[in-house]
Amino acid sequence: MVSDMLTSSLSIAGPEFILTIGAMVLLMVGVFMGGKSAQLVTALSVALLIIAALWLVFVAPEGVAFGGSIVSDSFASFMKILVLIGSAAAIVMSAGYAESERFNRFEFPVLIVLSTLGMLVMVSAGDLISLYMGLELQSLAIYVLAAINRESVRSTEAGLKYFVLGALSSGMLLYGASMIYGFTGQIELTAIAETLTAGERSLGLLVGLVFLLAGLAFKISAVPFHMWTPDVYEGAPTPITALLAGAPKIAAMALLVRFAMEGFLPVVVDWQQVIIFISIASMGFGAFAAIGQKNIKRLMAYSSIGHMGYALVGLAAANMEGVRGVALYMAIYLATTLGTFAVILSMRRDDGPADQIEDLAGLSKTNPVMATFLTIMMLSLAGLPPLAGFFAKYFVFMAAVEAGLYALAVIGVLASVVGLYYYLRIVKLMWFDEEAKPFLPAPIELKLVLWVAGLFVFPIYLFVGGPVFAAAGEAAQSFF
């Protein structure tokens, strides 16, 4: 009986186990092979992530494992695949960079794999314990990664800031979790929902809810829990920024959606207000603060703050269309972000990496292909049709309108108008300004990511948009 349960649990939590065991093996490989193993471990980590993704696609187990701690449904599969793509792309893009910046140790990819494992647990978290466990595993690995370039002061500063603030947010989250447990007597999300349906909601529970949401909002860097984002994005090694902007955000957003929709749907009116607030704050802050930036990584930080705000519009709607919108938004956001970071990583001159927006001036003359792709990315982030980014925004705003949240949708549209400005500024810089010194030729792996992501955003999305949309819809169906 117990062994039956264990077998099915192991199968349901297959990707997590693949990554756990794989990470251990890679660690051994690295330890025994020594300093020269970095390249091999990097390749193997990517392979590992791909295997986990294939498992999700072809085995696609559904059900509940370990007494409700791990939930696997179509929503989890959808989000996990995005997470794995994001992590794998980050590792691929880091290969050349780590070498040139001399932090190409084998721990680097292994830490990303471990962090990814944490993310998978987050996406599948069925109770408050696995929620916290996944979150911490993911975070701890990233704290180290952010500070991995020990010779760089800024990298160290970034890691430290992220760690201290992360600890604070974890504290809040745990405090909130304990209050929720205290007032409902449950840790399992479905059980919490049942209790809430049956009984009255108490003030203590709501306080706990706010604290927990604050902890999660920190992870997706939503205003006012976003303060770490620009500094960490700027200070961390660029491949880590690329990772930070992609996979952990998706995992945290998935966790937030699951937490809200599965555990707290009965008190939707309460958390909806919180989500609306941080959504508006994030959209507005992201749009306005980005205008003043000179560093492209900081700019992407504010851009990602804004985009989390847009995604939260879908969650605020708290209906099937909304969740579908969130899932779709994250998929398109991931592709666009990866493409953009592929360009940022390609910004290298003889004297090292360049990360000022000014460095992009006249890129259309020195490197028209890259300029074209970055233009597509920027316009997609701004949400111009017919690029993928437009559809992402369109569906979350439509969900908000259907839920009657007209003001939220209007504010979202206005914020994206303001946001258009700083995206267009980059486009203008590339196409109309005097050319700056050309960059070194980009390595093959960055070109690969750039081409795939760029072509996906336009025009491939126009053709595969239907199936992606359907998959997101199926994922959203898990909660209804």
Binding site: F277, F288, V418
Partner: protein, 668 residues
């Protein structure tokens, strides 16, 4: 054949306009000119072989738009009226094209010039062949556009640009009336197709007849089914009679704009800023007569409204006398002819107003020849004296450019109505028609046109005497260069001179004489009570001779003033200083308009621009918003201090705020 006539100028325009720079100026000139010559020859063939007793169905070229009851096609309506216009337009246009080869010889932008000329011709042909009002409006606007482009052809000259804009804007007023008129016609007859409209108008006429009333309006009020409101305009609910008058007046407004009638005439003299061949083609022979053509074309409707016809007479007679008085004192050779054109258009309107449509068209026909001749002659003079246009600096040119002199003499004789020249037949017919006309302003029209005939003769001969006779007043250097124009410019003058002499003699019988009905067929409509054409042949000899007497008196006066006693004009202008100034300043129309419209609309424009757009819209809109965005951005960026404790503080404030909110919300 008619399709070719219409499409040849379009082809010429496209070739010279699009490929002009590639194929070169010479090729552009020859292509457009030869196309127009072919079109002119075909027009004459059509004109001479047409039989009005066998009406032709409209030739449909293209379905244009179809929406509800609106059905508009690009179709050519071929009847006598169209053919007269085709002949006039294509003949003059072809001659002007050829003439321009010589006249524009030194201009670097010749392909553009010839493209515009052909574009104008195409638009004009669209106008005159229109089988519906929308197509006519297309042509109407097309000629307006071409006129604008050609007046401003020398776009580096500020005065040319100003004149082009003035022409365009003043025409806008008329065009607005025209388009309202088209709307009105559609509201009344549910169609813009001329045939349908005319059938409807005939129906209305017969119903008015049944009602038994004398005047159309009275009848309209009497009949029960005529009493229904058919049109609401400017707050008035109009029954059929009133509605038709209203529509006619709106159409008249359109015609006044295009044909430079009093009130909307101010653009025409300024339009002389354009190259002289343009003045000959557009501002003398063809475009400005579009208003006359349109009113003649709409004669079935105008015949239903005595009020409108009376207004037409009044406008025409007033314009005729106004322009003639101004023409007396102008010094610019082209402006004199321009005011003369304006005055002659007034004659045509008088003829239209008294119901003598064929007389109006006849005068249009002859006028096209002699006025184009005068303009091209003037161009030849200007060409000869190194682009001088002021007659005070000419004189004594007769010996140097004899061919131009003699052709100008022929044009002047025709214009003043010397016996058996073209003007003699048509102008006298107009004056006689006014004499026998029945409406309230017919006598007014007769009186003024007779006086205007005197003035016409005076200013025409004044022009000749000042330019060609007396002592040379130009500088010796200019006189040294005076030369006769090349034959490419002279030959068109011969053709036009032939027309100016013979057009009346050859066609009087058909246009206004006994062959009238057979000649025109159904293209011009006159109601059963309209006997003007019949009556004008029976006026007393004493009346018929008056215009000729006036012509002689005008010539004598001009001779006395400028040949026999050259000091006289100066004296006269000083003794009657007020009147002289009044005429010289064109009755102060420009000043009045400047005060009433130009300055006030400039003020409105300035206010809307500076205050409305600049301060309010830009200030609160783009500029204000972007400034606020920067402000917000600067503040927001300052929040990001880099200090860890600030960040932690922000997070805690956030949580505290949210918890407080939930507590307040949670309690309620």
């Amino acid at each position: 054949m008619y399709q070719i006539i219409v499409l040849l100028p379009l082809a010429g325009f496209l070739i010279a306009g699009l490929a002009g720079n590639t194929i070169g100026a010479k090729a552009s000139e020859y292509i457009t000119s030869s196309f127009l010559v072919v079109a002119a020859i075909l027009s004459w063939i059509g004109f001479l072989t047409f039989d009005a007793d066998e009406p032709m169905a409209p030739i449909t070229m293209l379905q244009w738009m179809q929406s509800g009851g609106l059905d508009v096609a690009w179709a050519l309506k071929i009847d006598r009226l169209t053919l007269v216009m085709l002949v006039v337009v294509n003949t003059v246009s072809a001659l002007v094209h050829i003439y321009s080869i010589g006249y524009m010889h030194h201009d670097p932008h010749r392909p553009r010039f010839f493209a515009y000329l052909s574009l104008f011709t195409f638009a004009m042909l669209m106008l005159v062949t229109a089988d519906n009002l929308v197509q006519m409006f297309f042509g109407w606007e097309g000629v307006g556009l071409a006129s604008y482009l050609l007046i401003g052809f020398w776009y580096k000259k500020p005065s040319a640009n100003a004149a082009a804009m003035k022409a365009f804007i003043v025409n806008r007023v008329g065009d607005f009336g025209f388009i309202l008129g088209i709307f009105g016609v559609f509201a009344i007859f549910q169609s813009v197709n001329l045939d349908t409209i005319f059938a409807g108008a005939a129906d209305v006429a017969s119903r008015m007849g049944e009602a038994g009333g004398e005047g159309a309006e009275a009848a309209a009020e009497g009949a029960a089914n005529m009493g229904d409101v058919v049109l609401n305009f400017a707050g008035y609910s109009l029954t059929m009679g009133g509605a038709i008058t209203c529509v006619c007046l709106l159409l008249l407004l359109g015609a006044m704009g295009k044909s430079a009638q009093l009130g909307l005439h101010t653009w025409l003299p300024d339009a002389m800023e354009g190259p002289t061949p343009v003045s000959a083609l557009i501002h003398a022979a063809t475009m400005v007569t579009a208003g006359v053509f349109m009113l003649a074309r709409m004669s079935p409707i105008f015949e239903l409204s005595h009020t409108a016809l009376t207004v037409v007479t009044f406008v025409g007679a007033s314009t005729a006398i106004f322009a003639a008085t101004v023409g007396l004192v102008q010094n610019d050779i082209k402006r004199v002819i321009a005011y003369s054109t304006c005055s002659q258009l007034g004659y045509m309107f008088v003829a239209l107003g008294v119901g003598a449509y064929s007389v109006a068209i006849f005068h249009l026909f002859t006028h096209a020849f002699f006025k184009a001749l005068l303009f091209l002659g003037a161009g030849s003079v200007i060409h000869a004296v190194s682009d001088e246009q002021d007659m005070r600096r000419m004189g004594g040119l007769r010996k140097h450019i004899p061919v131009t002199y003699w052709t100008m003499i022929i044009g002047t004789l025709a214009l003043t109505g010397f016996p058996f020249t073209a003007g003699y037949f048509s102008k006298d017919a107009v004056i006689e028609a006014a004499y026998v006309g029945h409406n309230a302003f017919a006598l007014y029209g007769w009186g003024l046109t007779v006086i205007a005939a005197l003035l016409t003769s005076f200013y025409s001969w004044r022009l000749i005497f000042l330019t060609f006779h007396g002592k040379p007043r130009a500088s010796a250097d200019v006189m040294h260069h005076v030369h006769e124009s090349p034959s490419v410019m002279i030959v068109p003058l011969f053709f036009l001179a032939a027309g100016a002499i013979l057009a009346g003699l050859l066609f009087e019988h058909e246009f206004v004489g006994d062959a009238y009905e057979h000649f025109w067929g159904a293209s011009l409509f006159t109601s059963a009570e309209n006997h003007v054409l019949h009556d004008l042949h029976e006026v007393a000899f004493g009346v018929a001779i008056i215009p000729t007497v006036m012509m002689a008196v005008g010539f004598a006066l001009a001779y006395y003033f400028y040949i026999a006693n050259p000091a006289m004009p100066k004296q006269l202008s000083q003794t009657h200083r007020g009147l002289y100034k009044f005429f010289l300043n064109k009755w102060y129309f420009d000043e009045l308009y400047d005060f009433l419209f130009v300055r006030s609309s400039k003020w409105i424009g300035r206010t809307l621009w500076k205050t409305g757009d600049g301060r309010i819209i830009d200030g609160l809109g783009p500029d204000g918003v972007s400034a606020r965005v920067i402000d917000v951005t600067n503040r927001v960026v300052k929040l990001q201090t880099g200090y860890l404790y600030h960040y932690a503080f922000a997070m805690l404030i956030g949580v505290a705020a949210l918890v407080t909110w939930m507590m307040i919300g949670g309690i309620s």
